[in-house]
Protein backbone atom coordinates (compact mmCIF):
# COMPACT_ATOMS: atom_id res chain seq x y z
CA UNK A 1 0.00 0.00 0.00
CA UNK A 2 2.69 2.40 1.08
CA UNK A 3 4.63 1.42 -1.97
CA UNK A 4 1.61 2.02 -4.17
CA UNK A 5 1.19 5.55 -2.85
CA UNK A 6 4.89 6.09 -3.28
CA UNK A 7 4.78 5.10 -6.92
CA UNK A 8 1.71 7.16 -7.77
CA UNK A 9 3.27 10.32 -6.39
CA UNK A 10 6.64 9.50 -7.89
CA UNK A 11 5.31 9.36 -11.43
CA UNK A 12 4.21 13.01 -11.84
CA UNK A 13 7.34 14.10 -10.03
CA UNK A 14 9.47 12.23 -12.51
CA UNK A 15 7.64 13.73 -15.50
CA UNK A 16 7.86 17.20 -14.05
CA UNK A 17 11.60 16.93 -13.53
CA UNK A 18 12.12 15.44 -17.00
CA UNK A 19 10.03 18.28 -18.39
CA UNK A 20 12.25 20.76 -16.61
CA UNK A 21 15.31 18.95 -17.78
CA UNK A 22 13.99 18.94 -21.36
CA UNK A 23 13.30 22.67 -21.16
CA UNK A 24 16.75 23.36 -19.78
CA UNK A 25 18.30 21.19 -22.45
CA UNK A 26 16.32 23.05 -25.07
CA UNK A 27 17.47 26.35 -23.62
CA UNK A 28 21.09 25.18 -23.51
CA UNK A 29 20.77 24.21 -27.15
CA UNK A 30 19.76 27.81 -27.87
CA UNK A 31 22.47 29.38 -25.74
CA UNK A 32 23.77 31.34 -28.73
CA UNK A 33 20.34 32.88 -29.24
CA UNK A 34 20.24 33.99 -25.62
CA UNK A 35 23.75 35.34 -25.97
CA UNK A 36 22.68 37.41 -28.98
CA UNK A 37 19.76 39.01 -27.19
CA UNK A 38 21.57 39.36 -23.85
CA UNK A 39 23.15 42.83 -24.38
CA UNK A 40 19.77 44.53 -24.19
CA UNK A 41 18.75 42.69 -21.04
CA UNK A 42 22.09 43.27 -19.32
CA UNK A 43 22.07 47.02 -19.91
CA UNK A 44 18.37 47.18 -19.10
CA UNK A 45 18.95 45.49 -15.74
CA UNK A 46 21.98 47.58 -14.88
CA UNK A 47 20.88 50.98 -16.24
CA UNK A 48 17.09 50.62 -16.19
CA UNK A 49 15.81 48.33 -13.46
CA UNK A 50 18.52 48.85 -10.86
CA UNK A 51 18.38 52.69 -10.83
CA UNK A 52 14.58 52.55 -10.74
CA UNK A 53 14.51 50.30 -7.69
CA UNK A 54 17.30 52.19 -5.98
CA UNK A 55 15.60 55.45 -7.01
CA UNK A 56 12.50 54.39 -5.12
CA UNK A 57 14.55 54.19 -1.93
CA UNK A 58 16.34 57.43 -2.85
CA UNK A 59 13.01 59.19 -3.32
CA UNK A 60 12.17 58.35 0.30
CA UNK A 61 15.44 59.77 1.60
CA UNK A 62 17.33 62.98 1.92
CA UNK A 63 20.73 62.65 0.28
CA UNK A 64 23.07 65.39 -0.87
CA UNK A 65 25.30 62.88 -2.67
CA UNK A 66 28.92 61.88 -2.20
CA UNK A 67 29.96 60.00 0.92
CA UNK A 68 27.22 61.44 3.10
CA UNK A 69 24.67 59.00 4.57
CA UNK A 70 21.16 58.64 3.22
CA UNK A 71 18.61 59.87 5.68
CA UNK A 72 15.20 58.22 5.62
CA UNK A 73 12.41 60.80 5.39
CA UNK A 74 9.45 58.67 4.33
CA UNK A 75 7.07 60.41 1.96
CA UNK A 76 8.33 63.87 2.88
CA UNK A 77 9.97 64.45 -0.50
CA UNK A 78 6.72 63.72 -2.31
CA UNK A 79 4.65 65.76 0.12
CA UNK A 80 7.10 68.65 -0.12
CA UNK A 81 7.03 68.62 -3.91
CA UNK A 82 3.26 68.43 -4.07
CA UNK A 83 2.43 70.98 -1.38
CA UNK A 84 5.21 73.45 -0.83
CA UNK A 85 7.45 73.45 -3.91
CA UNK A 86 7.50 77.02 -5.21
CA UNK A 87 7.85 76.11 -8.88
CA UNK A 88 6.46 72.67 -9.53
CA UNK A 89 2.79 73.68 -9.57
CA UNK A 90 3.58 76.39 -12.08
CA UNK A 91 5.62 73.94 -14.15
CA UNK A 92 2.76 71.43 -14.16
CA UNK A 93 0.22 74.06 -15.24
CA UNK A 94 2.59 75.30 -17.96
CA UNK A 95 3.05 71.76 -19.29
CA UNK A 96 -0.68 71.08 -19.30
CA UNK A 97 -1.35 74.36 -21.10
CA UNK A 98 1.28 73.51 -23.68
CA UNK A 99 -0.30 70.09 -24.12
CA UNK A 100 -3.74 71.63 -24.51
CA UNK A 101 -2.39 74.03 -27.10
CA UNK A 102 0.10 72.00 -29.02
CA UNK A 103 -1.66 68.68 -29.44
CA UNK A 104 -4.76 69.98 -31.25
CA UNK A 105 -3.09 72.76 -33.23
CA UNK A 106 -0.03 70.70 -34.17
CA UNK A 107 -1.93 67.62 -35.23
CA UNK A 108 -4.58 69.58 -37.13
CA UNK A 109 -1.91 71.59 -38.94
CA UNK A 110 0.12 68.51 -39.84
CA UNK A 111 -2.98 66.67 -41.01
CA UNK A 112 -4.12 69.55 -43.23
CA UNK A 113 -0.68 69.86 -44.83
CA UNK A 114 -0.45 66.09 -45.30
CA UNK A 115 -3.87 66.01 -46.98
CA UNK A 116 -2.73 68.83 -49.27
CA UNK A 117 0.48 67.00 -50.13
CA UNK A 118 -1.59 63.93 -50.88
CA UNK A 119 -3.60 65.73 -53.58
CA UNK A 120 -3.52 63.40 -56.54
CA UNK A 121 -2.00 65.57 -59.22
CA UNK A 122 0.39 67.56 -57.06
CA UNK A 123 3.86 67.94 -58.48
CA UNK A 124 6.98 68.43 -56.38
CA UNK A 125 5.49 66.47 -53.50
CA UNK A 126 8.94 65.11 -52.63
CA UNK A 127 10.50 68.57 -52.52
CA UNK A 128 7.84 70.00 -50.22
CA UNK A 129 8.03 66.95 -47.99
CA UNK A 130 11.82 67.27 -47.75
CA UNK A 131 11.66 70.95 -46.83
CA UNK A 132 9.06 70.44 -44.11
CA UNK A 133 11.04 67.52 -42.73
CA UNK A 134 14.34 69.43 -42.64
CA UNK A 135 14.01 70.72 -39.03
CA UNK A 136 14.09 67.07 -37.91
CA UNK A 137 17.90 67.12 -38.10
CA UNK A 138 18.42 70.37 -36.20
CA UNK A 139 19.04 70.20 -32.48
CA UNK A 140 16.90 71.85 -29.85
CA UNK A 141 19.94 73.92 -28.88
CA UNK A 142 20.40 75.38 -32.36
CA UNK A 143 16.70 75.95 -32.93
CA UNK A 144 16.55 77.87 -29.65
CA UNK A 145 19.53 80.00 -30.70
CA UNK A 146 17.97 80.88 -34.04
CA UNK A 147 14.51 81.50 -32.61
CA UNK A 148 15.79 83.70 -29.81
CA UNK A 149 17.21 86.06 -32.44
CA UNK A 150 14.14 85.68 -34.62
CA UNK A 151 11.81 86.69 -31.85
CA UNK A 152 14.00 89.40 -30.34
CA UNK A 153 11.87 92.41 -29.51
CA UNK A 154 14.11 95.00 -31.18
CA UNK A 155 16.27 93.05 -33.61
CA UNK A 156 14.09 90.11 -34.64
CA UNK A 157 12.57 89.25 -37.97
CA UNK A 158 9.10 88.64 -36.61
CA UNK A 159 8.68 92.10 -35.14
CA UNK A 160 10.27 93.66 -38.21
CA UNK A 161 7.63 92.04 -40.43
CA UNK A 162 4.83 92.88 -38.00
CA UNK A 163 6.06 96.48 -37.99
CA UNK A 164 5.66 96.60 -41.78
CA UNK A 165 1.91 96.05 -41.34
CA UNK A 166 1.73 98.54 -38.49
CA UNK A 167 1.74 96.22 -35.48
CA UNK A 168 3.85 97.54 -32.58
CA UNK A 169 6.74 95.33 -31.38
CA UNK A 170 5.61 92.29 -29.40
CA UNK A 171 7.77 91.29 -26.39
CA UNK A 172 7.94 87.66 -27.58
CA UNK A 173 10.36 86.42 -24.93
CA UNK A 174 9.72 88.74 -22.02
CA UNK A 175 6.00 88.55 -21.36
CA UNK A 176 3.95 85.57 -20.26
CA UNK A 177 1.52 84.87 -23.11
CA UNK A 178 3.86 85.87 -25.96
CA UNK A 179 6.61 83.68 -24.45
CA UNK A 180 4.25 80.72 -24.32
CA UNK A 181 3.27 81.37 -27.92
CA UNK A 182 6.98 81.53 -28.84
CA UNK A 183 7.62 78.13 -27.28
CA UNK A 184 4.61 76.76 -29.15
CA UNK A 185 5.87 78.17 -32.46
CA UNK A 186 9.31 76.70 -31.91
CA UNK A 187 7.92 73.26 -31.13
CA UNK A 188 5.62 73.38 -34.16
CA UNK A 189 8.48 74.35 -36.42
CA UNK A 190 10.63 71.52 -35.08
CA UNK A 191 8.02 68.80 -34.93
CA UNK A 192 5.55 69.36 -37.75
CA UNK A 193 7.72 67.78 -40.42
CA UNK A 194 7.78 64.41 -38.71
CA UNK A 195 4.03 64.53 -38.12
CA UNK A 196 3.35 65.51 -41.73
CA UNK A 197 5.55 62.64 -42.88
CA UNK A 198 3.77 60.10 -40.71
CA UNK A 199 0.32 61.37 -41.74
CA UNK A 200 1.31 61.34 -45.40
CA UNK A 201 2.54 57.77 -45.12
CA UNK A 202 -0.73 56.74 -43.51
CA UNK A 203 -2.78 58.67 -46.10
CA UNK A 204 -0.99 56.99 -48.97
CA UNK A 205 -1.79 53.63 -47.44
CA UNK A 206 -5.54 54.34 -47.67
CA UNK A 207 -7.14 52.54 -50.59
CA UNK A 208 -8.23 55.06 -53.27
CA UNK A 209 -11.21 52.84 -54.03
CA UNK A 210 -12.78 53.85 -50.74
CA UNK A 211 -12.95 57.44 -51.97
CA UNK A 212 -14.22 56.43 -55.38
CA UNK A 213 -16.98 54.39 -53.78
CA UNK A 214 -17.92 57.34 -51.58
CA UNK A 215 -17.98 59.62 -54.61
CA UNK A 216 -20.37 57.30 -56.40
CA UNK A 217 -22.57 57.38 -53.31
CA UNK A 218 -22.63 61.18 -53.63
CA UNK A 219 -20.28 62.15 -50.81
CA UNK A 220 -18.49 65.48 -51.16
CA UNK A 221 -14.88 66.22 -50.26
CA UNK A 222 -15.64 67.32 -46.71
CA UNK A 223 -17.78 64.28 -46.05
CA UNK A 224 -15.20 61.83 -47.33
CA UNK A 225 -12.54 63.58 -45.27
CA UNK A 226 -14.45 63.12 -42.04
CA UNK A 227 -16.00 59.76 -42.87
CA UNK A 228 -13.01 58.04 -44.47
CA UNK A 229 -9.73 59.88 -43.94
CA UNK A 230 -10.05 60.71 -40.27
CA UNK A 231 -11.29 57.27 -39.17
CA UNK A 232 -8.58 55.53 -41.17
CA UNK A 233 -5.92 57.66 -39.51
CA UNK A 234 -7.04 57.08 -35.95
CA UNK A 235 -4.46 54.44 -34.92
CA UNK A 236 -1.64 56.64 -36.22
CA UNK A 237 -3.22 59.66 -34.55
CA UNK A 238 -3.36 57.81 -31.26
CA UNK A 239 0.32 56.92 -31.53
CA UNK A 240 1.18 60.55 -32.24
CA UNK A 241 -0.90 61.89 -29.35
CA UNK A 242 0.82 59.54 -26.91
CA UNK A 243 4.37 60.16 -28.12
CA UNK A 244 3.77 63.93 -28.25
CA UNK A 245 2.49 63.88 -24.68
CA UNK A 246 5.58 62.06 -23.42
CA UNK A 247 7.81 64.42 -25.42
CA UNK A 248 6.15 67.53 -23.98
CA UNK A 249 6.38 66.31 -20.40
CA UNK A 250 10.11 65.72 -20.94
CA UNK A 251 10.56 69.13 -22.58
CA UNK A 252 13.77 70.83 -21.55
CA UNK A 253 16.56 72.00 -23.87
CA UNK A 254 14.58 74.21 -26.24
CA UNK A 255 12.78 76.12 -23.49
CA UNK A 256 15.85 76.32 -21.27
CA UNK A 257 17.74 78.11 -24.03
CA UNK A 258 14.89 80.14 -25.49
CA UNK A 259 13.33 81.67 -22.38
CA UNK A 260 15.16 79.97 -19.50
CA UNK A 261 11.74 79.25 -18.03
CA UNK A 262 10.81 82.90 -17.84
CA UNK A 263 9.31 85.42 -17.76
CA UNK A 264 8.15 84.93 -14.16
CA UNK A 265 8.45 81.17 -14.64
CA UNK A 266 5.68 81.17 -17.21
CA UNK A 267 7.53 78.72 -19.44
CA UNK A 268 9.19 76.75 -16.63
CA UNK A 269 8.88 72.99 -17.27
CA UNK A 270 8.83 69.98 -14.96
CA UNK A 271 12.07 68.67 -16.41
CA UNK A 272 13.68 72.04 -15.64
CA UNK A 273 12.67 71.56 -12.03
CA UNK A 274 14.37 68.15 -12.08
CA UNK A 275 17.59 69.59 -13.50
CA UNK A 276 17.50 72.38 -10.89
CA UNK A 277 17.10 69.83 -8.09
CA UNK A 278 20.10 67.89 -9.46
CA UNK A 279 22.11 71.12 -9.65
CA UNK A 280 21.20 71.81 -6.02
CA UNK A 281 22.28 68.28 -4.95
CA UNK A 282 18.71 67.56 -3.82
CA UNK A 283 18.78 64.05 -5.23
CA UNK A 284 16.03 62.59 -3.04
CA UNK A 285 13.53 65.15 -4.22
CA UNK A 286 14.80 64.80 -7.79
CA UNK A 287 14.15 61.05 -7.70
CA UNK A 288 10.70 61.66 -6.23
CA UNK A 289 9.93 64.16 -8.99
CA UNK A 290 10.95 61.51 -11.54
CA UNK A 291 8.34 59.13 -10.18
CA UNK A 292 5.74 61.90 -10.07
CA UNK A 293 6.43 62.73 -13.73
CA UNK A 294 6.23 59.04 -14.59
CA UNK A 295 2.87 58.93 -12.81
CA UNK A 296 1.63 61.97 -14.72
CA UNK A 297 2.62 60.40 -18.03
CA UNK A 298 1.03 57.10 -17.03
CA UNK A 299 -2.26 58.74 -15.99
CA UNK A 300 -2.49 60.91 -19.11
CA UNK A 301 -1.64 58.00 -21.41
CA UNK A 302 -4.17 55.81 -19.63
CA UNK A 303 -6.91 58.45 -19.95
CA UNK A 304 -6.06 58.99 -23.61
CA UNK A 305 -6.18 55.25 -24.29
CA UNK A 306 -9.52 54.91 -22.49
CA UNK A 307 -11.12 57.92 -24.15
CA UNK A 308 -9.89 56.92 -27.56
CA UNK A 309 -10.45 53.19 -27.14
CA UNK A 310 -12.39 52.90 -30.35
CA UNK A 311 -9.39 54.37 -32.22
CA UNK A 312 -7.11 51.43 -31.63
CA UNK A 313 -7.92 49.65 -34.87
CA UNK A 314 -8.99 50.80 -38.29
CA UNK A 315 -11.70 48.15 -38.63
CA UNK A 316 -13.65 49.35 -35.60
CA UNK A 317 -13.63 52.91 -36.93
CA UNK A 318 -15.10 52.32 -40.33
CA UNK A 319 -17.95 50.29 -38.94
CA UNK A 320 -18.68 52.78 -36.17
Amino acid sequence: MAQAIGTTSAVPQATRSTKWRALLREMWKHRVDYLFISPFFIVFLVFGVYPTVWGLRLSLSRWPGGQKPMEWVGLNNYIGLLTSDPLLGKAFVNTMMLLGWILPTGLAFALIVAVMLNARRLRGRGIFRTIYFLPFVTSGVIVAIVFSQFLDKNYGWVNLLLGKVGIPPVPWLTEAIPAQISVTLLLHWMGSGTNILIFLGALQAIDRELYEAAEIDGANAVQSFFRITVPMLRPVLLFMIITATIGLINLYAQVKLLTNGGPQNNTYTMFMRMMDLIAGNRFGEGAALGFLMGAVILVITFVQLRLLRSWWTVEGNLKG
Binding site: F41, W54, T138, M275
Partner: protein
Protein backbone atom coordinates in the same frame (compact mmCIF):
# COMPACT_ATOMS: atom_id res chain seq x y z
CA UNK B 1 -11.20 72.61 -51.32
CA UNK B 2 -11.87 70.53 -54.41
CA UNK B 3 -8.19 70.08 -55.01
CA UNK B 4 -7.68 68.76 -51.53
CA UNK B 5 -9.94 65.79 -51.99
CA UNK B 6 -8.17 62.79 -53.42
CA UNK B 7 -11.24 62.17 -55.55
CA UNK B 8 -12.97 65.24 -56.86
CA UNK B 9 -16.63 65.07 -56.03
CA UNK B 10 -17.83 67.93 -58.21
CA UNK B 11 -20.79 67.18 -60.44
CA UNK B 12 -21.26 70.29 -62.63
CA UNK B 13 -20.14 70.60 -66.22
CA UNK B 14 -16.70 69.37 -67.13
CA UNK B 15 -15.32 72.79 -67.93
CA UNK B 16 -16.25 74.54 -64.70
CA UNK B 17 -15.01 71.48 -62.86
CA UNK B 18 -11.56 71.59 -64.42
CA UNK B 19 -11.40 75.35 -63.93
CA UNK B 20 -12.20 74.96 -60.26
CA UNK B 21 -9.58 72.27 -60.01
CA UNK B 22 -6.97 74.48 -61.65
CA UNK B 23 -7.71 77.30 -59.20
CA UNK B 24 -7.64 74.84 -56.32
CA UNK B 25 -4.25 73.51 -57.35
CA UNK B 26 -2.97 77.06 -57.86
CA UNK B 27 -3.93 78.02 -54.30
CA UNK B 28 -2.41 74.77 -53.10
CA UNK B 29 0.97 75.58 -54.65
CA UNK B 30 0.89 79.10 -53.21
CA UNK B 31 0.12 77.82 -49.73
CA UNK B 32 2.70 75.02 -49.82
CA UNK B 33 5.35 77.41 -51.13
CA UNK B 34 4.71 79.98 -48.39
CA UNK B 35 4.97 77.17 -45.89
CA UNK B 36 8.23 75.99 -47.43
CA UNK B 37 9.64 79.51 -47.09
CA UNK B 38 8.62 79.57 -43.41
CA UNK B 39 10.35 76.23 -42.85
CA UNK B 40 13.52 77.25 -44.69
CA UNK B 41 13.80 80.80 -43.46
CA UNK B 42 15.35 80.11 -40.03
CA UNK B 43 18.13 78.15 -41.76
CA UNK B 44 18.65 80.98 -44.20
CA UNK B 45 18.70 83.70 -41.56
CA UNK B 46 21.17 81.63 -39.53
CA UNK B 47 23.53 81.54 -42.52
CA UNK B 48 23.13 85.27 -43.24
CA UNK B 49 23.67 86.10 -39.55
CA UNK B 50 26.86 84.04 -39.51
CA UNK B 51 28.23 86.01 -42.47
CA UNK B 52 27.70 89.40 -40.84
CA UNK B 53 30.22 91.17 -38.65
CA UNK B 54 29.31 91.69 -35.03
CA UNK B 55 28.90 95.43 -35.59
CA UNK B 56 26.43 94.78 -38.39
CA UNK B 57 24.54 92.28 -36.25
CA UNK B 58 24.40 94.76 -33.42
CA UNK B 59 23.24 97.69 -35.51
CA UNK B 60 20.95 96.18 -38.12
CA UNK B 61 20.35 92.53 -37.55
CA UNK B 62 17.41 91.47 -39.69
CA UNK B 63 18.96 91.50 -43.16
CA UNK B 64 18.28 89.36 -46.18
CA UNK B 65 21.93 89.66 -47.14
CA UNK B 66 25.03 90.91 -45.27
CA UNK B 67 25.11 94.69 -45.97
CA UNK B 68 28.86 94.71 -46.68
CA UNK B 69 28.98 91.33 -48.34
CA UNK B 70 29.71 88.01 -46.63
CA UNK B 71 32.44 88.01 -44.00
CA UNK B 72 33.97 84.81 -42.72
CA UNK B 73 35.64 86.17 -39.59
CA UNK B 74 33.38 84.23 -37.25
CA UNK B 75 34.15 80.98 -39.06
CA UNK B 76 37.88 81.68 -39.01
CA UNK B 77 37.75 82.42 -35.29
CA UNK B 78 35.93 79.19 -34.51
CA UNK B 79 38.21 77.16 -36.73
CA UNK B 80 41.25 78.76 -35.04
CA UNK B 81 42.63 80.13 -38.29
CA UNK B 82 41.94 83.80 -37.66
CA UNK B 83 44.71 86.40 -37.81
CA UNK B 84 45.96 87.87 -34.51
CA UNK B 85 44.28 91.17 -35.44
CA UNK B 86 40.92 89.45 -35.89
CA UNK B 87 41.32 87.66 -32.56
CA UNK B 88 42.15 90.95 -30.85
CA UNK B 89 39.17 92.67 -32.49
CA UNK B 90 36.82 89.83 -31.56
CA UNK B 91 37.08 90.67 -27.86
CA UNK B 92 37.25 86.97 -26.94
CA UNK B 93 39.17 86.37 -23.72
CA UNK B 94 40.68 83.03 -24.63
CA UNK B 95 40.41 81.88 -28.21
CA UNK B 96 41.20 78.27 -27.18
CA UNK B 97 37.80 78.08 -25.50
CA UNK B 98 36.22 78.42 -28.94
CA UNK B 99 38.02 75.52 -30.60
CA UNK B 100 35.18 74.31 -32.74
CA UNK B 101 37.20 71.66 -34.56
CA UNK B 102 37.81 69.87 -31.29
CA UNK B 103 34.13 69.99 -30.32
CA UNK B 104 32.98 68.65 -33.65
CA UNK B 105 35.61 65.90 -33.41
CA UNK B 106 34.32 64.96 -29.93
CA UNK B 107 30.73 64.93 -31.15
CA UNK B 108 31.52 62.82 -34.20
CA UNK B 109 33.49 60.40 -32.02
CA UNK B 110 30.61 59.98 -29.58
CA UNK B 111 28.05 59.60 -32.34
CA UNK B 112 29.98 57.17 -34.52
CA UNK B 113 30.88 54.79 -31.70
CA UNK B 114 27.26 54.89 -30.51
CA UNK B 115 26.04 54.14 -34.03
CA UNK B 116 28.46 51.23 -34.50
CA UNK B 117 27.52 49.63 -31.16
CA UNK B 118 23.79 50.11 -31.53
CA UNK B 119 23.60 48.93 -35.11
CA UNK B 120 25.68 45.83 -34.37
CA UNK B 121 23.95 44.69 -31.16
CA UNK B 122 20.44 45.59 -32.31
CA UNK B 123 20.89 43.71 -35.57
CA UNK B 124 22.16 40.69 -33.65
CA UNK B 125 19.10 40.73 -31.38
CA UNK B 126 16.70 41.71 -34.15
CA UNK B 127 17.82 38.75 -36.24
CA UNK B 128 17.42 36.39 -33.29
CA UNK B 129 13.88 37.56 -32.61
CA UNK B 130 12.93 37.54 -36.29
CA UNK B 131 14.34 34.21 -37.40
CA UNK B 132 15.05 31.95 -34.40
CA UNK B 133 12.80 29.97 -32.12
CA UNK B 134 13.73 29.39 -28.53
CA UNK B 135 11.96 29.03 -25.17
CA UNK B 136 10.44 32.25 -23.77
CA UNK B 137 11.07 34.12 -27.02
CA UNK B 138 7.68 35.85 -27.06
CA UNK B 139 7.80 36.71 -23.38
CA UNK B 140 11.25 38.25 -23.73
CA UNK B 141 10.17 40.25 -26.76
CA UNK B 142 7.13 41.53 -24.87
CA UNK B 143 9.46 42.74 -22.12
CA UNK B 144 11.44 44.68 -24.72
CA UNK B 145 8.31 46.27 -26.15
CA UNK B 146 7.03 47.13 -22.68
CA UNK B 147 10.21 49.06 -21.90
CA UNK B 148 9.38 51.37 -24.82
CA UNK B 149 6.53 52.73 -22.71
CA UNK B 150 8.73 53.59 -19.72
CA UNK B 151 9.31 57.34 -19.65
CA UNK B 152 12.98 58.24 -19.19
CA UNK B 153 12.08 60.81 -16.52
CA UNK B 154 11.25 58.06 -14.00
CA UNK B 155 14.81 57.04 -13.22
CA UNK B 156 16.69 59.99 -14.64
CA UNK B 157 18.17 61.13 -11.30
CA UNK B 158 19.26 57.68 -10.04
CA UNK B 159 20.55 56.86 -13.53
CA UNK B 160 22.67 59.98 -13.47
CA UNK B 161 23.96 59.18 -9.97
CA UNK B 162 24.77 55.61 -11.01
CA UNK B 163 26.63 56.65 -14.12
CA UNK B 164 28.42 59.68 -12.71
CA UNK B 165 28.93 58.44 -9.15
CA UNK B 166 29.03 54.65 -8.86
CA UNK B 167 30.65 54.04 -12.21
CA UNK B 168 32.70 57.22 -12.06
CA UNK B 169 31.92 58.07 -15.67
CA UNK B 170 31.79 61.85 -15.22
CA UNK B 171 33.81 63.52 -17.98
CA UNK B 172 33.94 60.34 -20.06
CA UNK B 173 31.91 59.25 -23.06
CA UNK B 174 30.89 55.86 -21.65
CA UNK B 175 27.42 57.11 -20.58
CA UNK B 176 26.61 57.72 -24.26
CA UNK B 177 27.78 54.29 -25.35
CA UNK B 178 27.23 51.57 -22.74
CA UNK B 179 23.68 52.15 -21.40
CA UNK B 180 22.28 52.35 -24.93
CA UNK B 181 24.37 49.53 -26.38
CA UNK B 182 21.17 47.79 -27.41
CA UNK B 183 17.82 49.58 -27.42
CA UNK B 184 14.21 48.47 -27.48
CA UNK B 185 13.42 50.66 -30.48
CA UNK B 186 16.46 49.41 -32.39
CA UNK B 187 15.72 45.75 -31.77
CA UNK B 188 12.11 46.28 -32.75
CA UNK B 189 13.04 48.12 -35.94
CA UNK B 190 15.64 45.56 -37.02
CA UNK B 191 13.32 42.66 -36.24
CA UNK B 192 10.65 44.20 -38.49
CA UNK B 193 13.14 44.75 -41.31
CA UNK B 194 14.70 41.30 -41.07
CA UNK B 195 11.40 39.46 -40.75
CA UNK B 196 10.08 41.11 -43.90
CA UNK B 197 13.19 40.93 -46.13
CA UNK B 198 15.24 37.82 -45.39
CA UNK B 199 13.74 34.51 -46.52
CA UNK B 200 13.91 31.61 -44.07
CA UNK B 201 15.29 29.31 -46.79
CA UNK B 202 18.45 31.40 -47.05
CA UNK B 203 19.19 30.93 -43.37
CA UNK B 204 18.23 27.25 -43.47
CA UNK B 205 20.60 26.52 -46.33
CA UNK B 206 23.40 28.40 -44.60
CA UNK B 207 22.79 26.34 -41.46
CA UNK B 208 22.93 23.11 -43.50
CA UNK B 209 26.21 24.30 -44.99
CA UNK B 210 27.56 24.44 -41.45
CA UNK B 211 27.60 28.20 -40.85
CA UNK B 212 27.52 29.25 -37.20
CA UNK B 213 24.87 31.64 -35.89
CA UNK B 214 27.42 34.41 -35.76
CA UNK B 215 28.55 33.74 -39.34
CA UNK B 216 24.95 33.78 -40.52
CA UNK B 217 24.46 37.21 -38.97
CA UNK B 218 27.71 38.75 -40.18
CA UNK B 219 27.99 37.11 -43.61
CA UNK B 220 24.36 36.78 -44.70
CA UNK B 221 22.00 38.94 -42.63
CA UNK B 222 24.13 42.07 -42.32
CA UNK B 223 25.03 42.40 -46.02
CA UNK B 224 21.40 41.99 -47.04
CA UNK B 225 20.19 44.25 -44.24
CA UNK B 226 22.65 47.06 -45.01
CA UNK B 227 19.72 49.34 -45.91
CA UNK B 228 17.90 48.68 -42.65
CA UNK B 229 21.10 49.16 -40.69
CA UNK B 230 21.59 52.54 -42.36
CA UNK B 231 18.08 53.58 -41.25
CA UNK B 232 18.81 52.67 -37.65
CA UNK B 233 22.30 54.17 -37.90
CA UNK B 234 21.03 57.56 -39.06
CA UNK B 235 18.27 57.80 -36.48
CA UNK B 236 20.85 56.94 -33.81
CA UNK B 237 23.36 59.40 -35.23
CA UNK B 238 20.88 62.29 -35.27
CA UNK B 239 19.73 61.56 -31.72
CA UNK B 240 23.24 61.23 -30.24
CA UNK B 241 24.68 64.14 -32.23
CA UNK B 242 21.94 66.44 -30.93
CA UNK B 243 21.92 65.13 -27.35
CA UNK B 244 22.17 67.87 -24.77
CA UNK B 245 20.57 67.04 -21.41
CA UNK B 246 22.82 64.13 -20.39
CA UNK B 247 25.88 65.79 -21.94
CA UNK B 248 25.19 68.88 -19.88
CA UNK B 249 25.31 66.81 -16.67
CA UNK B 250 28.19 64.48 -17.57
CA UNK B 251 30.70 66.70 -19.35
CA UNK B 252 32.30 69.57 -17.46
CA UNK B 253 35.85 69.63 -18.88
CA UNK B 254 35.97 72.21 -21.69
CA UNK B 255 38.10 69.98 -23.92
CA UNK B 256 35.55 67.17 -23.84
CA UNK B 257 32.57 69.32 -24.78
CA UNK B 258 30.30 68.43 -27.67
CA UNK B 259 29.11 70.92 -30.25
CA UNK B 260 25.67 71.17 -28.63
CA UNK B 261 27.13 71.74 -25.18
CA UNK B 262 29.52 74.38 -26.51
CA UNK B 263 26.74 76.25 -28.30
CA UNK B 264 24.37 75.99 -25.34
CA UNK B 265 26.94 77.28 -22.84
CA UNK B 266 27.88 80.00 -25.27
CA UNK B 267 24.25 81.01 -25.77
CA UNK B 268 23.61 81.18 -22.05
CA UNK B 269 26.69 83.34 -21.56
CA UNK B 270 25.74 85.64 -24.42
CA UNK B 271 23.31 88.22 -23.18
CA UNK B 272 23.15 90.54 -26.11
CA UNK B 273 23.85 90.50 -29.78
CA UNK B 274 27.63 91.14 -30.00
CA UNK B 275 28.72 87.49 -30.05
CA UNK B 276 25.85 86.22 -32.15
CA UNK B 277 28.07 86.10 -35.23
CA UNK B 278 30.06 83.31 -33.57
CA UNK B 279 26.93 81.63 -32.28
CA UNK B 280 25.41 81.61 -35.77
CA UNK B 281 28.61 80.42 -37.43
CA UNK B 282 28.86 77.61 -34.88
CA UNK B 283 25.23 76.66 -35.45
CA UNK B 284 25.75 76.57 -39.22
CA UNK B 285 28.85 74.40 -38.94
CA UNK B 286 27.15 72.10 -36.42
CA UNK B 287 24.18 71.62 -38.75
CA UNK B 288 26.21 70.88 -41.87
CA UNK B 289 27.12 67.23 -41.08
CA UNK B 290 23.47 66.45 -40.39
CA UNK B 291 22.30 68.26 -43.52
CA UNK B 292 24.71 66.21 -45.63
CA UNK B 293 23.46 63.04 -43.98
CA UNK B 294 19.88 64.20 -44.47
CA UNK B 295 20.22 64.76 -48.18
CA UNK B 296 22.29 61.64 -48.87
CA UNK B 297 20.05 59.29 -46.89
CA UNK B 298 16.74 61.12 -47.08
CA UNK B 299 14.78 58.11 -48.27
CA UNK B 300 16.19 55.95 -45.47
CA UNK B 301 15.35 58.58 -42.86
CA UNK B 302 11.78 58.89 -44.07
CA UNK B 303 11.49 55.11 -44.01
CA UNK B 304 12.81 54.98 -40.45
CA UNK B 305 10.49 57.65 -39.09
CA UNK B 306 7.46 56.14 -40.80
CA UNK B 307 8.17 52.56 -39.79
CA UNK B 308 8.64 53.68 -36.22
CA UNK B 309 5.20 55.22 -36.23
CA UNK B 310 3.08 53.05 -38.42
CA UNK B 311 4.32 49.61 -37.49
CA UNK B 312 4.68 50.69 -33.88
Amino acid sequence: MAALAPASPARPSKRSRSLRQAIGYGLLYVFLTILAVIFLFPFYSMVVGSLMSKEELFRSYPQLWPPNGPQFTAYRLLLQIATPEEVAASGLQNINNYNFVRYIFNTLLIASVAVALQVFFNTLAGYTFAKRNFPFKNQLFSVILATLLLPAAINFVPFYLLVAGTFGWKDTYWPFWIPSLATAFGIFLMRQFIASTIPDELIDSATIDGASQFQIVTRIVMPIMAGGMVVLGILTFVAVYNEYILTNLIISKPDLRTVQLFLANFKQATIRAPLYDLLFAGSVMATIPLLILFFVFQRKLVEGVMSGAIKG
